[in-house]
Symmetry: C2
Subunit: 558 residues, 2 copies
């Protein structure tokens, strides 16, 4: 017998999960709450609603229709927030353009997404200039006046259909945002790996509403530490072009929070805004936190009580301690472009709030606990779930209502991403008995030996502790019997050259690896002394090159 | 141009919003957290998961298939919680039977819903006995042993297919709960008005998941007062048969809270469980709160810090003050059977937490602020939204992702419920500038005069203050020109009989009504002295009878 579907009376509203519905509560609870942009703009949610209406009318007048793609090139601003709502609410797709890409990469993404309209801050005229001739689908450009320019003197690289504020001023505030399929595409943007072309991910209205609810629930129900609530003041310090600023602008808007948009990230502006507007909730990458902590202004700014969620890369524990010493409630959030992004948050158990800062830092730097509805597993190569014992490692694979359902026009990569019906994060980690996740490696950094995964980073750590070793890279090399076996490419300290054998390093490290439980296949490890390690153009150790050019890498003999 | 729907790669998991997905986080975060039933059962979420699997296997062995209806007749228990999950997760429909109905009403609901299976606590054998011969669709009965019985001596009124615990013990723990359409019916139950047959409402998996997320977000993001978080201990004191115990068992489970199920509500048991298990979050009707506050055991029980959400009927302010004096964080939640149920919650603004208790009580007794995604409006008879000024009144109409889409097999009532595309609550109220809703009347208690609504309750209040008046009922009577005009049926105090005229009462009250702004149509009010007011069988003033039997009501002359 099939399941019984609910019957719907003709007049009933079936309530598609559309972004426009996020606006009901802020307009009911907090119509006079403020939205602030740097030193220049301050308005209420009532005005936000009117400006969303104006923007939709202005874009419609420029020919934007449902299904069109509207690309945004701006720093974090109230305008960006308006686009987060108005563009998808019209039924169009918002492309959030990573303004830190090269002109060539950006050109690729705009052409690949077939952007119809581009809104561009005049500060990006040089980028636009470099692309203008080769943009294939863009029919309309809208100018946004940057903060630090003399508009009269700017040379427009393209003909603009109008200027953002002038267009809004001329438009009506009422726009009848229609209902449509909740699976309509709302946003798209590109993720850039270390190799290959940027890949387009995309999210539907339903997915963004569910992410908003999931993030609000997960962050809101934290017992004490890191919890988000309706008295918070929110300021993003992860760009809005980057996975919707982690989705927090949607969360903050739904909850009717005071919001502060800082424009281009400048430490002194961020710190001043933090203090002046009494910001209590932000998120950023470790590099930005480091910059803020070490800025001169940080010494005279009260940062206590500032909840700062860290993502993008691992939170170094020393940085966590430094932040905690300033009274910052720092903790990790985990996710990626493909996941909208938040999957888990490292909230501390209440009992640990009195623990020494170093112990807290270790917990706050973990990958955390999954949000509601997130089905997150660690699995082996055959997709078998691994135990939650803090030891067993596996790839993190995930299902949730807010994961990209593919890569734009790239079905092969999409199928690879979703192999076995779970989204593959390509992160390797363990889960402890309390459900707390810890990522240890990227999958490309693990070596699969005899069906088990060994962390190359842990082997490197062990070998790096040998007094003769200057630096080391451990990669997996093909092995008929074992699948892969570890190979350590070791650069010795100049003064140790000739003082130690490959065999001695191997014995020392392999023994330690087994004793510490890092790998029982340590015995299979080989060591080759090399003169240098291959590096990428930005100076990172390039393991991919080493794996693909094994002989050349080994040939870098001392 | 149509909207662009997102493309889904074949292997991607589209994540239907199914009740089974609420279990991911508790099993990840809190597998060892406890679920307690009175003094007799205490187990972990791990066991809950296993028992959900056992129950599904046991029901499947009894022939339960997707689409079947499984009715539950039990007090609030861990078994009920298991049914909340296992039955819908199989694709079957859980009918939560109101065990306080008469046997005739209950029989009607079981036949009307075409229940296939009934699980029944032996304490309800007399009810079952009275229905057994006339149950039309039930093929299978499952026995639940009550707490206070000698099972050997109970006379089974029907042949039972098995006993709940024995069936579970014999079943396997693993059940492969399938994916299916998120619009599958998950639960159904009946709402009983003062007249007419019970009406069946029903909720899909998607609706219950969205209600769970909405309630968790709305309760979780409260700044201070009334907030729900992951360290809370939950105990329902609104029956699980009544609108899923306000949906909180689903919320508590998703968040991995410790949960306490009290069985049949007995004040001393509730107070003992509250103290022993350190319960921090409950919900109940005012009558139960009154009973708890006035129980002897309450004097020696520390009730401070207990968050108690009140619904079902208005929270009397004096009761709120009494609860606040005991340290109870009491506040109103608003909803109804048709709305899953929660629509709004009366959280206090942080600034008001220091206000005198009487002022707080007034705010806590309001209808509150809408949950996220709830589009709640006050509208006039032509569905025109009324201003949020705390004065203008209208009917509360609502859209949210968790409203019944009809009444079972009652299309006419379903269309009436959803007239104009909004669910009609039949409640009349106002909304102030802070978004806070205040219900003032049921729609049947307002009088529509010249297109405006006048509260009969406010007119009664005014007339009741006249020193000669013993009691009064104000109803609307048809009027060709005005639509309706108010008629006050007044019973004088015996000693005032003949001391005052109908005209004098009318003048006094009509003048006051206009002066106080209650109604500018007070001048149209008529007054009739009567000997008695018609009452219902349970002693409530029966305005419906008076309206429908106007001459008889007026004829009750003194």
């Amino acid at each position: 017998m099939p399941v019984q579907l609910i019957e719907t009376t003709p007049s009933a509203y079936s309530y598609p999960l559309l972004i426009k519905h996020l606006l009901h509560t802020p307009l009911a609870h907090a119509p006079d709450q403020e939205i602030v942009y740097r030193d220049s703009v301050r308005y209420t949610y009532r005005t936000l609603q009117q400006r969303i209406g104006r923007l939709a009318n202005a874009l419609a007048a420029l020919g934007v229709e449902p299904g069109h793609t509207v690309a945004m090139m701006d720093w974090d601003s109230h305008r960006y927030l308006e686009c987060f709502f108005a563009v998808p609410m019209m039924g169009a797709v918002l492309q959030t353009v990573n303004v830190r890409l090269t002109a060539e990469q950006m050109l690729y993404t705009l052409n690949h997404a077939r952007a119809d309209v581009v809104l561009v801050n005049s500060e990006f005229f040089p980028l636009l200039q470099a692309m203008a001739e080769r943009l294939e689908s863009v029919k309309t450009f809208v100018l946004i006046h940057g903060d630090h320019e003399n508009p009269e003197k700017m040379q427009a690289p393209v003909p603009f259909a109008g200027e953002y504020e002038e267009l809004l001023a001329a438009a009506a505030t009422d726009y009848d945002f229609p209902d449509f399929d909740e699976n309509a595409k709302a946003t798209t943007f590109y993720t850039t790996g270390t190799t290959g072309l940027p890949k387009g991910v995309y999210f539907s209205h339903r997915q963004l509403v569910m992410h908003t609810m999931g993030a609000a629930t997960g962050l809101g129900t934290a017992p004490v530490q890191g919890r988000l609530h309706r008295d918070d003041v929110y300021m993003p310090i992860t760009p809005m072009f980057h996975v919707h600023a982690w989705g927090l602008p949607y969360v903050a808007t739904m909850l009717g929070l005071k919001q502060v948009y800082p424009g281009r990230y400048q430490p002194e502006v961020l710190l001043r805004l933090k203090a002046r507007e009494r910001v209590t909730f932000s998120h950023c990458v470790p590099t930005i936190l480091h910059m803020l902590l070490n800025h001169a202004l940080a010494r005279e700014t009260d940062l206590s009580g500032w909840k700062v969620m860290i993502g993008g890369s691992a939170l170094p524990q020393a940085m966590a301690v430094a932040a905690l010493e300033k009274g910052i409630d720092v903790f990790t959030g985990y996710g990626m472009s493909e996941t909208c992004p938040i999957l888990s948050v490292a909230h501390l158990p209440t009992a640990k709030l009195q623990a020494p800062l170093a112990e807290q830092a270790a917990l706050r730097a973990r990958t955390g606990l999954p949000l509601p509805l997130v089905d997150l597993r660690i699995v082996d190569a055959e997709m078998r779930p691994q135990p939650h014992d803090g030891q067993a490692v596996g790839e993190l694979v995930v299902r949730s209502p807010w994961l990209t359902q593919g890569y734009l026009k790239d079905p092969a990569s999409a199928e690879e991403l979703w192999g076995g019906g779970y989204l593959h994060t390509a992160d390797i980690g363990n889960i402890d008995a309390n459900g707390s996740i810890q990522i240890t490696d990227r999958i490309k950094d693990v070596i699969k030996t005899g069906g088990e995964w060994t962390s190359s980073l842990q082997l490197e750590d062990i070998i790096g502790q040998h007094p003769a070793v200057h630096e080391v890279a451990v990669i997996g090399v093909r092995d008929e019997k074992w699948g892969e076996r570890p190979l350590a490419l070791v650069v010795l300290k100049p003064e140790m050259d000739g003082q130690v054998t490959e065999h001695a390093i191997r014995n020392h490290a392999a023994h330690l690896a087994e004793t510490l439980g890092v790998s029982r296949y340590g015995v299979l490890m080989q060591v080759s002394f090399v003169k240098t390690l291959a590096r990428t153009s930005i100076g990172k150790i390039n393991k991919r090159f080493m794996r693909e050019n094994l002989e050349a890498a080994k040939a870098a003999q001392p």
